[in-house]
Every structure is written in structure tokens, then in C-alpha cells.
Symmetry: C2
Subunit: 201 residues, 2 copies
DNA sequence: ACCTGAACACCGTTCAAGT
DNA sequence: ACCTGAACACCGTTCAAGT
């Protein structure tokens, strides 16, 4: 059947298949998702330009899940906190995707609604435009780094024999992922917000 | 010449060649570095188990450049600041390597001296063991995320037409990488330290 | 111990051929 | 417009053969 009357593929279908493969195996291949979709690898090129575009489609899919709240009656720092949690939560749904996204950082499209909301919040907090940009970048780095932590294996903090007393005590408190990663993210977010509140006076 | 009396290769030589390729092209291949070294791809396997080990060797090379200071007469927060800068500086030497390191986060070996020093500093600051672990994880996420930012292309903050007023003003302050990334890192580090000082009372 | 040469399975991508 | 089949260049890895 060279060409069905009804198209079998679409960018959405390809994106979903690729995301499923990444969730399951940590990576995807063109032949792999083609097989899952009952199609030949070359068929994919009728809908996407190549592997790179599929990665960008997955990035867009994740970003589209970030819901940016409208105006609310709350302090700017509470807005930042909520946006940060929401941002990270969308990454957390597909932890193994994050490493694939890091080879090319792109801040465009859907995500811009969130950047705008963050800019407004920091601006409300009294930050100068230059500091607004720096603060957003900080949050971005922190959220991305934290998301990478989610995909990390259990034994990230091994090598206890090399630890000093302070580090050994810290390691003794550790619990399995993703609970540890969650706790660490919340603590770090509190640190950042406390810092911004200080900087904003 | 099937086998020279003096070995041509070593893990160090292979690591350096791979690092050079990553710096230049953002990636490396087995045939690629073999050619640079005037050798056949299969020869590499006499010294490394494969591509994955070469990546770990590069990680080790970068981590080995992190110099951890001995005891000094300074506040714990100053120790943390200095370690964070040093940590990030070692990453910054090979920005394009960072994406290759993110598919598998490992905190072992050489880096442990730094983690120990950080644990001691936060412990001196009065943090509980659980919070020490969280604080180190926060710093780790932030430094890694910031390092990724270094490898980002210039037009990371494009799409100005979608920006609201606050975001537009922030973008107007932007300067080329890596100056922007440097500024953002320093601002973020100040935020974190201010936050930790607040949390530590 | 260490480099070579040949081989294998696999990948991403292209493109003319079909409907 | 969209799927197929064949083809290409390339990759990572293995392994017997050489010294």
C-alpha cells in the first residue's frame, strides 16, 4: 500500500511516538519510531525534516504544558515561585528527555509566555531590566539543572568512603529519587526566592 | 607497522584528541579522533572500552582542574562562593562538552574533594545534614545549568516580537555571550549566597 | 601488549517510483 | 500529498591476524 487515502502520520503522531521511546529507553531512533508506527523510516521525512526537528517538536510539546497564570492577587515572589514550580513540573513529566534538549538551548515560542510573566514579576519586584534578565537566566539554569537531576540514577551520591564527616552526615539523610530531587528543588527554590527578596530589598 | 615498539596511544592522548574535537565541532567520533592520531579506529579499543568511557575520561579531565582550597580564614559563605566560581570556571573551559556530560550525571572521584569542602562550609554555616545535601544539589544544578548557557548560541533570546514590556526592556540590556552568561552567573551566585545567608540566619 | 584489516549491525538521510 | 524500496555515507564495536 504505497499511499493510504487517509494519511497515517503527522508531526503530532511522530512526536508522541518519539516521546514514548525516550520515556522508555532514554533515546529514540528514526527506524525505531517508524517501526512502532507501522511505517518505513523514509516515510517520516514527509512530515519532519529530520531527527533534529523531532527533538524540537518534543521540546515544544513539553513547553506547551507550562500553564502561565493570569493576573493574581499575590506578591511578585509568589508569582515567581509558582512559575518555577510549573516550569519544572512540565520537565519532570519526561525526565529522560532533558539530556536530549541540552545540546541546543532554545528559548522561543510557547515558553515566551512564561518568560514574559517572569519578567513582569521581577519588574514588579523592583529589579532593573538588566537584573530581570539575569534573574530569569538564573531561574532557567536552576530549573534545567534540577530537571537533569531527575533523570539521574539512584547511585548519584556513591563513593561514601571518600566523604568527610560533614558530607557523610549529609549523605545519610538521602532518600531515593525522585523524592530526593523534589526536596532538593524545593529547598533550592526557597534559597533563590530568599535571595531575590534580599536583592530587591 | 602492526605494532610500534613504543605505544602510540594512551588514554590521556585519546582524551585530549576527543576534547579538541568537542571544542572545535561540539562532538567527536571514533573514526574522527583515530584519524587525528594517525591510527585506525579499532586501535582505540586497546585503551578504552568505547565511546562512553571517553566521555567519562573527559569528565574526569575537567573535574581534575577544580582546585579545592585548604583551610582559610574566611566566612563559610565566602568559601562557597569561591568553590562555585572555581567549579564553573572548570566547566567554562570546554563549554561544548557540557551537553555530552548531561546524559549521565556522575558525582564521584575527583569532584568529591569539592563536595567535601562544600559540605564542610555549609555545615559551618549551621545547616542540618539534610539541608547541606540540598544546598549542594542546588549549587550543582545551578552551575551545570549555567555552564550549558555558555555553549548556547547568540540568538538564545530571540523572538522579541512576542515579548511584553518588561521582557523587552530586559532583552535590550543583553550583550553577546559569553559576557552575558558570565554576568548572569555572578548575579545568580549572589542570589544564592544571599538566600543561604538568610536560611542560615 | 598493541596496531591492523575486515567485518557486522545499525543509524540518519536522500530520492526516484508508485498511487 | 504521502508511503515505499533501494541506496549512500557514516558510525560504534568486535575479533582474528600480525609483530
Amino acid at each position: 500500500m504505497p499511499r493510504p487515502s487517509q494519511p497515517i502520520l503527522s508531526t503530532a503522531i511522530i512526536t508522541t511516538a518519539a516521546l514514548r521511546a525516550v520515556d522508555a529507553a532514554g533515546d529514540f531512533t528514526m527506524p525505531g519510531i517508524a517501526e512502532k508506527l507501522g511505517v518505513r523510516p523514509s516515510s517520516l521525512y514527509n512530515h519532519v525534516s529530520g531527527r533534529a526537528e523531532i527533538i524540537e517538536l518534543m521540546r515544544g510539546h513539553v513547553m506547551a504544558e507550562v500553564s502561565v497564570p493570569g493576573e493574581r492577587d499575590e506578591r511578585w515572589s509568589e508569582t515567581v515561585t509558582r512559575l518555577a514550580r510549573e516550569y519544572r513540573r512540565s520537565y519532570a513529566k519526561h525526565p529522560r528527555l532533558i539530556p536530549l534538549l541540552t545540546s541546543q538551548t532554545v528559548r522561543t515560542g510557547v515558553a515566551f509566555a512564561m518568560y514574559n510573566a517572569l519578567a513582569q514579576a521581577f519588574s514588579d519586584g523592583g529589579f532593573t531590566p538588566a537584573d530581570v534578565l539575569a534573574a530569569i537566566t538564573t531561574l532557567d539554569s536552576f530549573v534545567l539543572g534540577s530537571a537533569l537531576d531527575l533523570a539521574a540514577p539512584e547511585e548519584v551520591w556513591a563513593q561514601v568512603d571518600e566523604a568527610n564527616d560533614a558530607m557523610r552526615a549529609a549523605l545519610a539523610t538521602s532518600v531515593p529519587n525522585p523524592a530526593r530531587a523534589d526536596t532538593a528543588f524545593e529547598f533550592g527554590l526557597q534559597t533563590l526566592v530568599a535571595g531575590w527578596l534580599t536583592q530587591a530589598q
